[in-house]
């Protein structure tokens, strides 16, 4: 539908210089607020979920899976690993490659025990990686994997064992022997530091030990891995992995972070898409309000429409004038909703903290009021369990999300305005003039 400038003019005037009845004006304001408020959860979900997924993914690929993993399913010799490291380092895209040995064990303190996932890492693992240091924080002690008995524990493991920096722990590992029962081997370590990634999944079972010690404890096939970090892990990683695989010795395979973390990433994205779908439904429901307000506006303006038609104004220009009114309602609502939504998204951590504080205070007041009656209520309100989500929700403001929301909303609102607008265009002037 071609929109003539005169329709834009009339559509604009009908909304922004409206001399409509108080009832219609109230409905129009209500429609703007309805659409505006409906955008708030949508934009908040988009920005917050985007930020959370990006934050979690980033942590996983910097700390968990790395950008690429080069693996062999036969026990890799030191020479083979050196050769793989050299090959990887020869690519300009690679910023870092390092050997890692994965293993499992049971770790004991003097009073507690817990299962751990052990990574044997080179001494410069932490100091040589700026990006890693952004996501992995040493909360106590220092990141030290120099001596054979040095160990780093995650906050979760340290809490489970009730140990602190400087305490001694024992790691029980099992070595498989062909045709015989596995040999259990206890090794004593000193806790040199306690770290946190801010994400439970990565922190819950993590223990780091020096690479040399790991070589002794875990020399099973498939445990030796070369971790690789590239300049841009999000673009062209698959193609680069194929290229790298072509240069490696036989029996070595390359896995991208996407191969390794796909189920998690897809689960996050599915949840996000479902949330967005529900939020879009809210916007659609709010758009029905636009439709009813526009119907009221058309009914109120029937005599004026009849007059315009009797003066030979084409039906399609009257229709497009009302579509423009709907569009301007949409623009006003989008400006209002986006502003409020972005403010909510940017301040989501403070907002959640504030809500938790308010409810916790209410519980305290309630508890104090009930105390004389002998009843006791206690506990603090926590909307998100920090153990399962990032400790603070990272916000990622995406221009694409903002533009997409604005365009989508305008499209929905214009579509909602179209039917009443078409009705306005198809009114028979004579019937209206007789009625009035």
């Amino acid at each position: 539908m071609m929109i003539h400038r005169s329709s834009v003019f009339l559509g604009f005037r009908m909304l922004f210089r409206s001399h409509s009845s108080r009832k219609t004006t109230k409905h129009l304001i209500g429609a703007v607020l309805g659409i505006g408020f409906s955008i708030v959860p949508l934009i908040t979900v988009l920005e917050v979920s985007g930020g959370m997924i990006e934050g979690i993914t980033r942590r996983f690929i910097e700390i968990g899976s790395y950008h690429l993993q080069i693996k062999s399913y036969s026990p890799g010799t030191r020479e083979e690993i050196e050769s793989v490291l050299d090959t990887a380092a020869g690519f300009p895209q690679v910023i870092r490659s390092f050997p890692v040995i994965f293993g499992e064990g049971l770790v004991y303190s003097s009073s507690e025990k817990t299962g751990v996932s052990v990574r044997s890492l080179p001494e410069d693992y932490y100091s040589g990686d700026d990006t890693l240091r952004e996501y992995l924080t040493v909360e106590s002690g220092e990141f030290l994997l120099r001596g054979p008995d040095d160990a780093m524990l995650s906050r979760e493991v340290a809490d489970a064992l009730k140990v602190k920096t400087g305490d001694r722990i024992r790691l029980l590992t099992a070595k498989a022997m062909p045709g015989r029962a596995p040999i259990l081997r206890p090794t004593v370590f000193t806790v040199r530091g306690i770290f946190s990634t801010g994400y439970y999944e990565l922190d819950s079972l993590s223990m780091y030990i020096p690479l040399d010690t790991g070589e002794v404890l875990f020399d099973e096939p498939g445990t030796a891995v070369v971790g690789v970090k590239v300049k841009d892990p999000y673009r062209g990683i698959e193609a680069f992995a194929d290229k790298l695989a072509g240069e490696l010795p036989d029996g070595w395979f390359v896995y991208t972070w996407y191969n390794l973390e796909r189920p998690m990433l897809e689960s996050f994205n599915t949840t996000r898409n479902l949330l967005i779908f529900i939020m879009v439904l809210i916007v659609v429901v709010a758009a029905v309000n636009i439709s009813s307000s526009m119907i009221m506006l058309v009914i109120e303006k029937e005599p004026e429409i009849a007059m315009l038609k009797s003066m030979g104004v084409p039906s399609e220009r009257i229709t497009s004038a009302f579509v423009c009114t709907g569009f301007f309602i949409g623009i006003t609502a989008v400006i209002f909703g986006l502003t409020l939504g972005l403010m909510t998204a940017v301040n989501i951590n403070e907002l959640i903290g504030g809500i938790e504080a308010i409810f916790s205070s209410l519980i305290k007041i309630y508890s104090a009021a009930l105390k004389p009656l002998g009843a006791e209520v206690s506990g603090a309100v926590q909307i998100f369990d920090r153990s399962y989500y990032l400790e603070t929700i990272p916000i990622r403001l995406s221009l694409a999300d903002v533009c997409g929301t604005a365009m989508g909303t305008l499209l929905i609102v214009s579509a909602a305005a179209y039917l009443p607008a078409r009705r306005a265009g198809s009114l028979k002037p004579l019937a209206i003039l007789r009625k009035h």
Binding site: M14, R17, E304, A306, L308, M311, V313, P314, P429
Partner: protein, 226 residues
């Protein structure tokens, strides 16, 4: 020189059907109006005056007969062509002004021309001139709610003339005004019709107003009498 009348109505009948009942509003009406003439049609309420005006203006279709205005065959013409016809050839004035509340007086006058395809600047200039001619130049930026009844009807007169129509169809243009404002609006209407040599077909109950026309007709029992 073309001697054809500007408005040519032949044997026009209009029947409204309400189930099996038929209401004959117009019965074989003939009417010729030359360019620049001003005619008045009077008659009792329900006699079919407004119906005849609506038929001439292409707002309604006759049950029989033919209507030609400025060489344009009105009866049986599709709506899109009638829209163009009304925009270029006809100016309507109704008893109620039906001004758009959200537009100023000047914008109300220019809107049929602007929405009909004229450039906004040209339409505004023309509207301002017309408002001067109806003595409302100083009120061009007033909204309808800020104008008196007589002023609103003068804006409606200016609006009817914006597209320089060949025919003005006025249906009780002073029917809603007091005597003083009626006279004022009538003066302006007749003066402008003279100035622009526009044909005026006026439907009214007001004998003072009808007496100013070149010719008076009366509609009785669906037929037109001089």
């Amino acid at each position: 020189m073309n001697n054809e009348p500007l408005v040519h109505v032949r044997d026009v009948g209009k029947i409204y059907r309400n189930g099996p009942e038929e209401l004959h509003i117009l019965r074989g009406v003939d009417l010729d109006v030359d360019q620049g003439r001003k005619i008045a049609i009077t008659g009792e309420s329900g006699s079919g005056k407004s119906t005849l005006l609506n038929l001439i203006g292409g707002l309604d279709f006759p049950s029989r007969g033919s209507i030609t205005v400025a060489g344009f065959r009105v009866d049986g013409t599709p709506e899109d062509k009638l829209t163009y016809f009304r925009n270029r050839k006809i100016g309507f004035i109704f008893q109620f002004h039906y001004l758009l509340k959200d537009l100023t007086a000047c914008e109300n006058v220019m809107i049929p021309a602007y929405m009909g395809g004229m450039k906004k600047k040209a339409a505004m200039e023309k509207a301002e001139k017309l408002l001067e001619q109806v003595n409302l130049a100083e009120r061009k930026n007033f909204f309808p709610a800020q104008l008196s009844g007589g002023e609103r009807q003068r804006v409606a007169v200016a609006r009817a003339l914006i597209n320089a129509p060949e025919v003005i169809l006025a249906d009780e243009p002073t029917g809603n005004l007091d005597e003083r404002h009626s006279a004022l609006v009538a003066d302006i209407l007749f003066d402008l019709a003279d100035t622009f040599r526009t044909t005026l077909i006026l439907v009214t109950h007001d004998h003072i107003l009808s007496s100013r026309a070149d010719l008076q007709y009366s509609l009785r029992k669906g037929a037109l009498e001089t």
